[in-house]
């Protein structure tokens, strides 16, 4: 009897059912790509110049100079690290209430919308844009950087915390509620134990994002190692720039290994 069943099977198309439309879309993409590539103008002379500069840059990397600008580098690094740590702590402290307020299963609708609004604003504005604003407001230096990173941390952490709270085990919440617990006790006993490991993991992750961002926003004047790096490149001191980049890579790697070790330890 088994001979009467088909011996071949093909996965049915999942997104676009009609074969004609599928081919039309594929053709459209190919035509667009061809046209777009045609509009790119390449000035080969400038490419050659750039390659020569790139070569000097690479040479600087291979012979990084930590010594001649060490005073500037170490000041920049300390500024960046200070900025990173303080902004992460302040950002986390603010994002916890905002994140709880943005969890639909814990708060009434008006609170939810306000907190989601705060998150949306913080996430909509990219760090560099906020840094430009804040540098204009508070002047050059790490204070503007600290404010920028704190603000960006709120959007990132509060959103992920809120999403995590919305996915907690409802049975545990129900059980604690059934004992006659107040709202704060409910958060402390049923919610906090469920989200704590992830909150710590996310905070550590944000710590290393903030360090990397501190290098970027330094370029627009918000202090830290980014400012030092910018100065070094402006002065064509590629050996010092190389040293700075190596230091940034090293610190990010330490943060990466350190935070994954800590997270494993906390779980």
């Amino acid at each position: 009897m088994s001979e009467t069943y088909p011996t071949t099977w093909r996965r049915p198309p999942q997104i676009i059912r009609s074969a004609r439309w599928r081919y039309a879309v594929q053709l459209g993409i190919a035509i667009y790509l061809a046209l777009a590539l045609g509009t790119i103008e390449v000035d080969w002379g400038r490419v050659a110049d750039g390659l020569a500069r790139g070569q000097r840059f690479a040479a600087g990397f291979l012979q990084p100079d930590f010594v001649s600008r060490w005073a500037d580098i170490s000041r920049g690094l300390i500024e960046s690290l200070t900025m990173t740590l303080t902004s992460t702590v302040v950002g986390v402290l603010i994002s916890i209430p905002v994140g709880i307020g943005a969890a639909a299963n814990l708060v009434p609708a008006p609170v939810y919308f306000v907190c989601r609004g705060i998150i949306a604003v913080s996430r909509a504005l990219q760090e560099v844009i906020i840094a430009i604003f804040l540098v204009a407001m508070f002047g050059f230096g790490p204070f503007a950087g600290f404010l920028t990173l704190s603000f960006a941390t709120i959007g990132f952490l509060a959103k992920l915390l809120a999403d995590d709270i919305e996915e907690i085990e409802p049975g545990q919440v129900e059980a604690v509620r059934a004992t006659g617990a107040s709202w704060t006790q409910l958060v402390n006993y049923a919610v906090q134990p469920q989200v704590m490991p992830r909150l710590i993991g996310l905070s550590l992750y944000r710590l290393d994002i903030n360090f990397r961002e501190s290098a970027v926003i330094g370029i627009v004047g918000a202090g830290g190692i980014g400012a030092t790096l910018n100065t070094a490149i402006d002065r064509y001191e590629y050996d010092s720039a190389g040293a700075i980049l190596l230091l940034i890579i090293g610190i990010v790697m330490i943060a990466e290994y350190g935070s994954s070790y800590l997270r494993k330890f906390l779980q």
Binding site: E169, G171, Q172, E174, A175, V176, R177, A178, T179, G180, A181, S182, T184, Q185, N188, Y189, A190, P193, Q194, M196, P197
Partner: protein, 273 residues
Amino acid sequence: MLHLDGLSKTYATGEAALSDVTLTVPQGQIMGLIGPSGAGKSTLIRCINRLVEPSSGKVILGDVDLARLGKAELRRQRRRIGMIFQEYALVERLTVMENVLSGRLGYVPFWRSLLRKYPARDIQTAYRLLDRVGLMNRADSRADALSGGQRQRVGIARALAQEPELLLVDEPTASLDPKTSRQIMRLITEICAERGLPVIVNIHDVPLAQQFMQRIVGLRAGRIVFDGAPADLTEAALTEIYGAEDWNAMRQGDSEQAEAEADAARRLEALAK
């Protein structure tokens, strides 16, 4: 004593989960609530402590109508009602002791619960309850390190820590093996008998209900269709509750299971010799 009067619940979807349920549970009675899935058993016990808001009707515990309370007063009244859950509903990352002490949350101010500085009497009660359910040496374990039966024992201790006047039990054995199920049912009924505590147990295992309950109420599509002693639960009554099915085969299956258990126990004993 608990008295439900004309209790109804219609969900936002328009589905009527409970229609006009009137029921009295006297002091010290162990009542089983049986019925098919979706008959409204869970809704009924959750309407009592208002984890689900009833649409209409009264829930009278002692002389308070729970259905009419404001938020703060509801929290105070919830302390009087202990609840035991199907999937244990322990807070898994907290210790066993914290889970038991969480039964006292309605009685202590926030700072005490936050700092885990419970009054000496509460801690003593928690230890006594842990000893009663046989988990004295697991007080400092995390709840997720326990087996299913042990977790349900913690659930029982937590509910009793409230010093409740009524116990609601939602499918206490649904996630447990048959032997542990019987142990848990025996523990619940023994403790309630000791304290003269009225209990409502949602239970889908009819033989288990007949073995342990003093009274059985059958629910079908949100209405009470049977109310009587376990012995009165005839085949006709079960058909009324669950629809047509071969009930004798089910009973037989259960006696087979009991035999198999006894056989396994004998073999273990033989091995031990």
